[in-house]
Amino acid sequence: MAVVTEAGQADLREPAGWRRTKNRIATVFMVISFVVVIIPLGFVLYTVIAKGASAISWSFLTSPIPVNVAPANVGGIGPAVLGTIEITALATVIAVPLGVLGAIYLNEYGGNNLLARFIGFMADVMTGVPSIVMGLFIFSIFVLHFGFSGLAGALALGCLMLPVVIRSTDEMLKLVPNSLREGSYALGASKARVTLTVVLPAAIGGIVSGALLAVARAAGETAPLLFTILTVTTANTNVFSGPNTSLPSQIFANATSPYTGAQARGWGAALTLIAIAFILMIAARFVTARFARYQR
């Protein structure tokens, strides 16, 4: 493989001719693949901001959704904002504690035993279950018996969040040094006490940040909500009963509308949704930077 060169002028650092060209081509291809990704991303964000910014105002975020055909400046997406907050919050309350406890089992109790490894593996597999299947699942097991409600939507989102929370919390618990646990045991604390008062607080920054990212993902999901909350246009403050609505479902409904007014509201709702996801993401980063004691 050694490059044969004339004595004296040899450049030992640079291989000659076609080998160098091939290397260049490969590097250029890598850079181009990144550019190929930036272009559509930039295009999408630009379009959403350009078209959404003109629609968004305080009254847009709080006004009722027009039932009939209406121009762009009439009405808003108030019920959808309310619904998204209600349903996502309820899903978080359901999924995060269960997910954290599940991760505690995997890391603190299960350790390396077969069951814990199997559960961890299936949690990874569960993150790959399509969101629409979660919707059909909650429809079959819940909606058919109790009817459409925000709670049903929250259960579907919760099923999507659960494995994500388990995995991110598990990663964080793994980073907590064992000396902390051993120190607490040496003081005579029970395992539950060590876990709750020493291990969890030590990992809390990472756990919260992982949970926020899971919430950001769930807030943008449409498919699990289609058959669980039955998208309506009226506001429903009771998350436990009656059909509800959400930002993603409204965008889905408006995207297929031929009317420019509805489309404009769709762009406004899309910008609101992306803004919510970004805020949660930045919050997660802030929490990691500020509170996470042990990082990867």
């Binding site: 990144f34 990704v37 295009f43 599940g102 390396n112 597999v125 569960m126 790959g128 395992k191 498919a223």
Partner: protein
């Protein structure tokens, strides 16, 4: 670490009466609670399989092997799933063909070319693709992207008409909302996951091997071909399979841009349908066997994605373990 905690448990078990009694009920019930939450994952997966199959049973019993029929005509009570399976396969393949080279390119760029402080912002940008919700990709796809790209489709189609193979795939008729548009949008959506998993796998290549190749005078590309690729091949295949799993299950974006017509056509630029999209679009008006058939499509989708994910995760985990041991 686990060895230590197990030793602790054993020590607690052997501890004299007073101490053991103090650790009794609360400790034990917390352990059971945690175990219950862990088992919840398995319970949910089993429940998904059982309840959806139950709801879909009337489709399975009325159609028998007809569930794989080629005609989906709700008015005539014909519910054959093949057009959707075909559409799912086609859009999945298009998405992979476009996303995989790009993802591997970015992963190599991040691990082999740029320094850490440049790699971080690139990772953020690629992850942003995953932050844009599916429905926003769909909204952009149907209102902005499809109207723009349909002109390109039309040009290509008129250019290749009559050409043997190209005409078969890219000929008339064309439409902005089509298999190909759905494939492109799906490619954007799966790029982040394929990139990040490939990067994880590639990062496990031992530095000594890299340095060895460089010491022999290899260029970067030769090093990648000779060291990185053989080492991470398997893991990258797993990452690609996980991307495929995402692509076939992705619903809302596909539902908006695929064109919604249940046909089996070789024309990639014409309208089609896939499994998640038809469930999303038609469920609202469905009842009886129709609804059961849509839930049945969900069962097929679930079975398919579970198989892909189990295989892919096993591959990724194995390749990750191998390098950790090395």
């Amino acid at each position: 670490m686990s060895a230590v905690t197990q030793a602790d448990q054993a020590a607690a078990g052997r501890a004299p009466g007073g101490l053991a009694a103090r650790q009794g009920l609360g400790d034990r019930s917390f352990q059971w609670l945690a175990l219950g939450c862990g088992l919840l994952v398995l319970v949910i997966l089993v429940l998904i399989a059982v309840t959806t199959t139950q709801q879909a049973s009337s489709w399975f019993t009325t159609e028998g092997w007809g569930i794989f029929g080629t005609v989906w005509d709700t008015a005539a009570n014909k519910f054959g799933a093949t057009p959707f399976i075909y559409g799912t396969a086609v859009t999945g393949v298009i998405a992979l063909v476009m996303a995989v080279p790009v993802s591997i390119g970015i992963a190599l760029l991040l691990t082999e070319v740029v320094p850490y402080r440049v790699a971080r912002p690139i990772v953020y940008v690629v992850d942003l693709l995953a932050v844009v919700p599916s429905v926003v990709w769909g909204l952009w796809g149907i209102l902005v992207f499809a109207p723009w790209i349909q002109h390109i489709y039309a040009h290509i189609a008129s250019a290749v008409t009559g050409v043997p193979v190209l005409g078969f795939f890219f000929g008339q008729p064309t439409s902005g909302a089509s298999f190909f548009t759905a494939g492109i949008i799906l490619a954007f959506m799966i790029t982040p996951i394929v990139t990040s998993l490939s990067r994880e796998v590639i990062a496990t290549v031992p530095t000594v091997d890299r340095e060895g190749a460089y010491a022999l005078g290899a260029t970067r590309w030769e090093m990648i071909r000779g060291v990185v690729w053989p080492h991470s091949q398997g893991g990258v295949v797993g990452a690609v399979l996980l991307g495929l799993g995402r692509a076939v299950g992705e619903t809302i974006a596909a539902a908006l841009v695929i064109g919604s017509s249940p046909v089996i056509s070789s024309r990639l630029f014409s309208t089609g349908y896939n499994m998640p999209a038809v469930i999303a679009n038609q469920f609202g008006e469905a009842s009886g066997v129709f609804r059961s058939a849509l839930i049945g499509l969900g069962v097929l989708l679930f079975a398919f994605t579970i198989i892909i994910n189990v295989v892919a995760r096993a591959i990724v985990n194995r390749s990750a373990r191998r390098k950790r041991g090395a």
